[in-house]
């Protein structure tokens, strides 16, 4: 499952979660889980100001975003100047753990 910006949604993708109006998970869903997206449906969600949807698998890959190992390598290079500093190093470790958790399981390409 992946959370994607609605602007990157394409016909054929399958909803992995119910879609609600304006981010609040209360009330009646606009559109149910397991629905296959169509162009008309995407346009309708756009009109309802939906910003993001959860879809099956991991269909949207940004450039350079090729999986956990690459993400960790990018993280290390962003932190290259500050790894010696105890406070900033803590943030690095928190981020690395976050990436391992979110990419390691259902979010990652490996499981697809």
């Amino acid at each position: 499952m992946q959370k994607i910006p609605l602007m990157t949604a394409k016909a054929g993708m399958i909803l992995a979660r119910d879609v609600f109006r304006s981010e609040s998970e209360i009330g009646i869903p606009i559109c149910g889980k397991d629905t296959e997206l169509t162009d008309t449906l995407i346009a309708r969600l756009e009109n309802l100001k939906v910003q993001s949807v959860y879809v099956e698998g991991h269909p949207v890959w940004e450039e350079g975003d090729r999986g956990l190992d690459d993400m960790l390598r990018d993280l290390d290079s962003r932190f290259a100047k500050v790894r010696q500093d105890p406070l900033t190093a803590k943030l690095h470790d928190i981020y690395a753990n976050y990436l391992k958790r979110s990419m390691g399981e259902s979010g990652g390409r490996k499981t697809d």
Binding site: K3, M7, Q51, S52, R78, A80, T88, L91, I94, N97
Partner: protein, 287 residues
Amino acid sequence: MDEKQTELKKIIMDTKTLPTLPGVINKLSALSDNDKSSVQEMARIVSSDQVLSARILRLANSPSYGFYRVSTISNAMILLGVNVVKSLAISSSIFEVMEKNSVGLWEHSLGTGVVSNMIAKKLGLPECEEIATAGLLHDIGKVIISLKCSEAEFEVRRIIDEKQIYMWEAEHEILGTDHAEVGCWLAKSWFLPDKLTEPIACHHNVEASANHRIKTSVVHMADVLIKASGFGDSGDSFVPLIQQAAWDALKLNEQIIAELVEELEDKLVEVKNFSLELQQDCDAPSP
């Protein structure tokens, strides 16, 4: 400071070549912030300029303010406060340039606004909207440098590449000043309140902030977090050092940071969507 630096700095900090602001803004500056009749007058003046109101409403509905559905200027003033609307009015012409020509910096600014708001809410701080605005504007000095002196911008980018240093370090080498100082000067020329000017001026040196240390610390931390996430492009790709002064002022701990990372990663998907929508609007031929 050598001659070259002095010359470039003079070009950048020349008030005569400040981006021209809509005439409306001058009228706004004359009105006081909290006087009730002024607020109504201000709403009336802004609403009379349709292009300006549209830009303000678009920013007011940006993820930095948690996706309020703001549909009128008077509503924006009630929800976001007069100060925020005033700074959105005067910055909208700057953002207009940014959205089109430097999407990376625009996304970095938008992201910093979002995370500033997130931190402020999490810590239960007052004036979340103003803190979000300070975050949105914190690197405004970079836009001015690039607008007014492309030669300086080119040199700055070249030595960041060559020496792998932070952007503010490169700016000091080329200009003898940096975007924080330029941004502060700009904010002052536009008569923005101190609580917005100080975070812009001190986000790379929290200890120098005397009167608005908390707001400055939030913006500093938001900048660090958004650069840690890799979202947007602020000019260099290096995470800044977390300043002890900011950590102490906000009484942060590892638990809070871990929760923030989780929340911001979730939110960035929506921020990306907002930015993609804007780019699509920019690309679309005007009707």
